[in-house]
Amino acid sequence: MSALTKKEVELALADRFGAIFERHERRPLEVFPTGVREIDELLFGLPRGAITELHGPASSGRTSIMLSALANATAHEEICAIVDCDDTFDLASAAHAGIDFRRILWVRCGHSLERAFKAVDLILHAGGFGFIALNLCNVPAQVVHRVISSWWFRFRRAIEDTPTALVVLTPVAAVRSCAALILELKNEGSVWPSTLSLVSENSNGRFTSPDTTARYLSLVPLTADAKEHPAQPHTHFLQAMKIVVNRQRPVELRPGKVKFNPQLPVR
């Protein structure tokens, strides 16, 4: 008995089962903008119904993107959730980013990874949330590596075909194939041209001056050189981003480079 090829079997059954054997192209996922112009120009936004991973070392801009996306989502009256594994969500910077706290469910997990994953699972199954952020930034990389894959598969299964976007912030890549979009962020250094002058001004004891109540750490576009603005005391916080797109979960992508320049809050 000669072995039948897959093609022959499909042809034989085509009359009865129609076109179910045909390969269907998955349509691109719906996205919602992050509010970071540079990223939105490139990616259109973060995908809904899928997991997005933002990973990178400290000071690489993960939290900045998350805050911007949260602010954008709450501005569009979406209900959002932050599952904060290590209780590091800063409300002052979140308020400065423009987040509407009435639409934020904040879950503080008390440094417990297990609780954080269970909380995300509960929120995903409750349904109705537009944006969920799982913040694992302060979890050691070794611990994040040891997270069993079944959690990510479970989340991917729970979130697909829903309008919810799950964003996971980690120090190292952990979600792997379960993520539709992976943004690897890297801090390439900072340049503080006017720091010394500020320090000397402060060390003279003139703290009561209204000018010194604000921090001059606002950022300028990365393309601009500090020498072009010698009078402005500002910090360049250079951040690079590498984008990995999961081919099985297509996200539309425009070719180009990412320029990302978050602004430090003025207090």
Partner: protein, 473 residues
């Protein structure tokens, strides 16, 4: 069939008051409710009850048809008389197929009167026209006196006299009032009972024969009570936003719990799960011997859905999720944050999370009025702050070593850039006064592959200790 109970002992002054919706039910109404749930209080001395369908309770054994119905009515009437005597009431009882005929018969004939269907006119034709109840056909007292005078002039003395008059003539002279009165006299009136509602009580309780100490058997009891409670709420088209659970314990103490709901609900399954989550979070300290649940009734929520309304969690599911989450991480760790109006760093409080019902209004939230078109840099705050060892030169930090609780996380290295100090203090009038000098520093660890880490560190001025407040990210 309808039974009318007329109490001969009620004073005349009270008889004139029609009392369909009496708040405090009279003994007569209580007596009627022991025989039927369908009761009308026609006046303080008169109640009518629907006794149809009680053949199995009061009917004869081997009879059927109209005679069986009459026999059943007779048994009911006898039982009513017997029970009224135990209550100290002196009553007349009339059973008839027509409500108004039963009322007039009970008021006119002492003792028990049974009027078989079809014999109504035969029984009522000799009743005095003075005893006709004008209120039954919605005629006020002045008009009733006028009509009564007319009847006297016409020589109408009994129900039979009025019933025999030509309809056209009555309608021409007395109008629709006369027509309705004649129908009443002819026993042809047809109306429904104005039912007395039993007092509304949204409380259920159960005393247990054996004390229970586990959640599972308690769940069955709560389920039963909540089903009844929600059925009552449903009957009155109400819902509840507050549930009070009282558990009497074996050590003669009480364990009370109250659940406040952000939206009115009446789904027993949802309420049961919320109660169980609450009990599991704070279980009673002794076995339970009695359970009582009280619900605060309010109008159910009404919401208009639409295509363009943003996505939001379903309130019932959200409540269950929040209850589960509270069990998982603690009530104080789940909610919606709110910044406090103070300069003290990281001052906030957690509020109960609810889905905002009203559409968002611009500038309604003062905490989010600062809008930046440009993305702002995020900050991750350490709670509690990491204690740090900082080396300084001329007052400026040059090197830092700050281990966290986890040995794998630390901020350590050379400070390549620093901005500060930014001094702040407050609450000097309180015991927990705070004063700090903050620095923004860029730290480079030569042993680490990571680049610069931009941190916020501060020196506690009161203790002269250094801490890492958080990391810019």
């Amino acid at each position: 069939m309808f039974a009318c109970i007329y109490s001969r002992a009620v004073p005349k002054s009270q008889q004139k008051v029609r009392n369909h919706d009496a708040e405090a039910p009279s003994p007569l109404v209580d007596l009627a409710f022991t025989f039927s749930p369908l009761v009308e209080q026609t006046s303080p001395d008169t109640v009518v009850l629907d006794v149809s369908g009680q053949d199995l309770l009061f009917g004869p054994v081997a009879e059927d048809g109209s005679s069986a119905e009459v026999e059943c009515g007779r048994n009911i009437a006898t039982d009513i008389i017997r029970q009224s005597k135990t209550l100290g009431l002196t009553v007349n009882v009339a059973i008839a197929a027509n409500v108004d005929v039963a009322i007039h018969a009970a008021r006119s004939i002492k003792g028990v009167t049974i009027i078989p269907p079809g014999d109504e006119l035969l029984k009522t034709r000799d009743f005095s026209i003075k005893h006709i109840d004008y209120s039954l056909v919605a005629i006020d007292e002045n008009r009733a006196a006028e009509i009564q005078e007319t009847f006297a002039l016409w020589g109408i003395r009994t129900f039979g006299d009025l019933a025999r008059l030509p309809l056209a003539g009555v309608a021409e002279r007395l109008g629709q009032d006369g027509v309705r009165l004649q129908k009443l006299a002819q026993a042809k009136s047809d109306r429904h009972l104005h039912l007395v509602r039993p007092p509304i009580g949204f409380a259920q309780s159960l005393e247990l024969e054996h004390a229970i100490s586990e959640v599972e058997p308690l769940a069955f009891i709560l389920s039963r009570l909540l089903n009844q409670l929600c059925a009552n709420l449903n009957e009155y088209a109400l819902a509840t936003n507050e549930l009070k659970l009282t558990l009497k314990l074996h050590d003669k103490t009480e364990h009370e719990r109250a659940i406040n709901l952000p939206v009115p609900m009446r789904n027993p399954k949802t309420l049961l799960r919320l109660l169980l989550f609450d009990i599991e979070r704070e279980p009673p300290q002794a076995p339970i011997i009695a359970v009582a649940i009280t619900a605060e009734p309010i109008k159910p929520r009404s919401s208009q859905t639409g295509l363009f309304i943003p996505l939001a969690p379903e309130p019932e599911r959200l409540e269950i999720t929040l209850a589960r989450m509270a069990k998982l991480v603690g009530v104080q760790n789940v909610g919606s944050p709110e910044l406090l109006d103070t300069h003290r760093p990281d001052s906030f409080r957690m509020q109960r999370f609810t889905v905002p019902s009203s559409p968002k209004q611009p500038h309604c939230n003062p905490q989010s009025t600062i809008r930046n078109p440009q993305c702002v840099m995020g900050f991750r705050i350490f709670r509690p702050p990491w204690r740090a060892e900082v080396w300084t030169r001329e007052g400026k930090p040059t090197r830092i070593d700050a281990p966290s609780g986890d040995t794998r996380l630390r901020v350590r290295g050379q400070i390549v850039c620093a901005s500060g100090p930014w001094r702040g203090s407050g609450d000097w009038w309180r015991r927990d006064v705070w004063a700090r000098a903050e620095w923004d520093v860029a730290v480079v660890d030569p042993k680490s592959e990571e680049g610069e880490v931009l941190c916020r560190i501060y020196r506690d001025v009161t203790t002269e200790e250094w801490f890492v407040a958080g990391v810019y990210d």
